[in-house]
């Protein structure tokens, strides 16, 4: 078979893997949107913040070192120890829970019953705040995140495919890990929401706030819970993205890509987030491969959005979203 075919197949596979990364961010969006109807723009920044915190804890950075130095004229930067990755991840997860509690207590509680656009704006404000906080706490230089995940091109896959097709596929090991982690995450989330008490409460809240309240489910607790889970998902996404391309500000922009993923899959559907991510990841890589060179390249910047836009014109609720019913 011609090499271009295999090359296209390889591009597609890599696209699928990139799509998994988008899905990881999109997953957090969907969780929050389902449970509270909030379109959480800050999800990307949450991932960035989680990754920054993780690196900071792991390397024993002193938080707020910059500002302390600026005020007192000292020259602090590190505590001088390094934490093992597992401990750092656990601590970061705790920090994300803390953030969830703070968000619920100081923002969401006061904005109950506001219009969706106001809540959306509040999450943009939150995104700005967290972005600034992350930089002030841990410094804004690009950091390397290494929690011991495998890196580089997978030799086994290259060998096996070479023996089968006479063409070696280049696939990043990290992408494979990300795909496995995403699958595990989705399974865990599904099990959690189907078979545990709190999972059921979560689904009840997603279904109908008032009915859930009337059977004695605490909305505020559920919100803290769902933001904590979203924070945890953000942490996973942050680890994956951070290991791939370093922890830096552009991480939160990559997360914007999760928006077209959501539109494609539907705001309210977890499988939609996964399928949407795969379609977008594959679509943009193939488009860049096939059409990109003809029109100047770098089409990945906009392809996802335009695809989602065109798709929505034909199916306004996305692939798996609930049908939008409007009544007067």
């Amino acid at each position: 078979m011609p090499d271009t075919f295999f090359y296209a197949a390889e591009v597609m596979l890599n696209g699928l893997m990139a799509g998994v990364m988008y899905s990881l961010v999109a997953l957090g969006f969907v969780l929050i949107f389902k449970a509270s109807g909030i379109f959480n723009y800050a999800q990307g920044v949450l991932a960035l913040f989680a990754a920054l915190t993780l690196v900071g804890l792991q390397e024993g950075q002193i938080p707020f070192a910059h500002i302390i130095n600026a005020i007192f004229g000292t020259d602090l930067h590190h505590f001088g120890w390094t934490l093992p990755a597992v401990v750092a991840i656990a601590l970061t997860a705790l920090v994300m829970v803390g953030i969830a509690i703070v968000i619920e207590r100081y923002i969401l509680k006061h904005l109950v019953n506001q219009e969706p656009i106001i809540l959306f704006m509040a999450t943009i404000g939150l995104a700005y705040f967290l972005e600034g906080l992350g930089d002030v706490m841990w410094g804004s230089d690009i950091k390397k995140l290494d929690v011991g995940l495998p890196q580089g091109i997978s030799d086994t896959i290259e060998e096996v495919t070479y023996n089968w097709f006479g063409y070696g596929f280049f696939i990043d090991k990290l992408d494979i890990v990300a795909a496995l982690v995403a699958a595990a995450l989705v399974i865990a989330l599904t099990l959690f929401s189907q078979y545990t008490k709190y999972g059921r409460a979560l689904r009840a809240v997603a279904d109908d706030h008032q009915a859930a309240l009337s059977v004695g489910i605490s909305l505020r607790f559920i919100w803290v819970l769902v933001w904590s889970i979203a924070g945890f998902v953000a942490l996973v996404a942050g680890i994956m993205w951070g290991s791939k391309s370093g922890v830096q500000f552009s991480l939160s922009l990559i997360a914007l890509k999760a928006l077209p993923v959501l539109m494609l899959g539907g705001f309210t559907s977890i499988p939609g987030a996964i399928v949407g991510g795969l379609i977008i990841g594959m679509g943009e890589k193939l488009f860049e491969f096939a059409i990109g060179p003809m029109i100047g390249g770098a089409t990945e910047n906009w392809f996802a959005y335009v695809l989602a836009l065109l798709f929505l014109v034909f199916r306004p609720q996305g692939l798996f979203g609930e049908k939008i019913i409007e009544r007067v």
Binding site: H110, F129, Y305, A308
Partner: protein
């Protein structure tokens, strides 16, 4: 005592339906105009023009434009930066292609071109609503920025990929280019803002504006009482984009002088202008101005305090500024979701009863 309708007798219908029915408001309005056109141009220097007044005027135009779309017609848009880029590149192409035509006409034409592009990207709004639409407008943002980066025709094949404004004048007074005086920049933008704000105010309280607001409040109900959603939504997109295009043209030609599309008209600009609209107050022309003033002044103020007075490094100050802006936005939304315009309305209500509140 002074601020009330009582005693201000209206004898014609046009007097009765004027924008400022209260005499005090009218006097205040003319006083503001007198200061803006009679005092500031004589005292303005380069620092004040570039740091405060010119960006304020230009962002006000953009904020009014976005407010028409989001606040009056209820269509959330995140593509403002992209539309400003259309205005900027349109005015650049016009300025270089037809040097003999007046810059004022170029700016207005650039607005018109942006209006056409806006209508094109507004078409999906007939099918897509709410947040889906907001994300769909991101397509406009990223696609347009990419387009201006990748097609050399738009930047006249210049080696750096930048566009820079040639020198143009009106009646012998230089408006664009490096030799422009502060007061010329200021006056040019101020005149355009005044004209457009007047236009927006009168559009939004007329039949067109009422149709927009009906669509905003509930589009199906509006359709049933005879508002054509196609015409209403697309006219909102067109007029809003016209304003934003004019703002983009001024931002490039008068304020920046030279621009690179990703840097000057990126997604951050879209959010900035959306913040101005939200903080100022959705559905209020005054709110757009107030929001623009607030978000132009805040960074200047913070920078002066943090860097100038406390002597902190600029990058740290920039991060703290982000935190403060984010925190303020949240505080504002919690304390007053309807923005500065609502505070202003409350103040006027209080003033009406003053000094006898009961």
């Amino acid at each position: 005592m002074f601020y009330r309708e009582a005693g201000d007798f209206k004898t014609t219908y046009s007097e009765d339906s004027q924008t400022f029915p209260i005499k005090f408001d009218r006097i205040r309005y003319y006083a503001v105009l007198a200061v803006a056109f009679g005092v500031i141009p004589f005292f303005i220097n380069d620092y004040w023009a570039n740091a405060v007044f010119v960006p304020f005027l230009i962002y006000s135009i953009a904020a009014i434009g976005l407010n028409i779309l989001v606040g009056y017609c209820g269509q959330v848009s995140l593509g403002t930066g992209g539309f400003m880029a259309v205005g900027a590149y349109a005015v650049y192409k016009l300025m270089t292609a037809f040097p003999e035509v007046s810059i004022l006409i170029h700016v207005l034409l650039a607005g018109g071109i942006t209006a056409l592009v806006g209508v094109l990207f507004g078409l999906p709004s007939l099918r897509i609503k709410g947040f889906y639409l907001a994300v769909a407008t991101l397509a406009a943002q990223f696609f347009l920025v990419w387009l201006f980066n990748k097609v050399p025709w738009f930047y006249n094949y210049s080696a750096s990929g930048q566009i820079s404004a040639p020198e143009r004048d009106i009646l012998g007074i230089i408006i664009t280019g490096p030799n422009t005086t502060a007061s010329a920049k200021y006056l040019f933008c101020a005149v355009i803002l005044l004209a457009l704000a007047w236009l927006a105010r009168n559009l939004t309280r007329g039949a067109v504006g009422r149709k927009w607001m009906a669509i905003r409040d509930m589009d199906i109900a509006a359709e049933i009482i005879g508002v054509n959603p196609l015409a209403a939504k697309l006219s909102a997109f067109a007029i809003s984009s016209f304003f934003i295009g004019v703002a983009g043209a001024l931002f490039f030609a008068v304020y920046l002088g030279a621009a690179e599309v990703g840097e000057s008209f990126g997604i951050q600009k879209s959010f900035l202008i959306l913040f101005m609209v939200i903080i100022g107050g959705l559905g209020s022309i005054f709110g757009s101005l107030a929001g623009a003033a607030f978000l132009v002044l805040l960074p200047v103020f913070l920078k002066n305090v943090l860097v100038g007075m406390l002597g902190w490094p600029t990058d740290l100050a920039a991060h703290i500024e982000l935190m403060i802006i984010g925190g303020l936005i949240i505080t504002f939304l919690i304390a007053e979701p309807h923005g500065i315009a609502q505070l202003w309305r409350l103040a006027k209500e209080k003033l009406r009863l003053w000094p006898f509140p009961h």
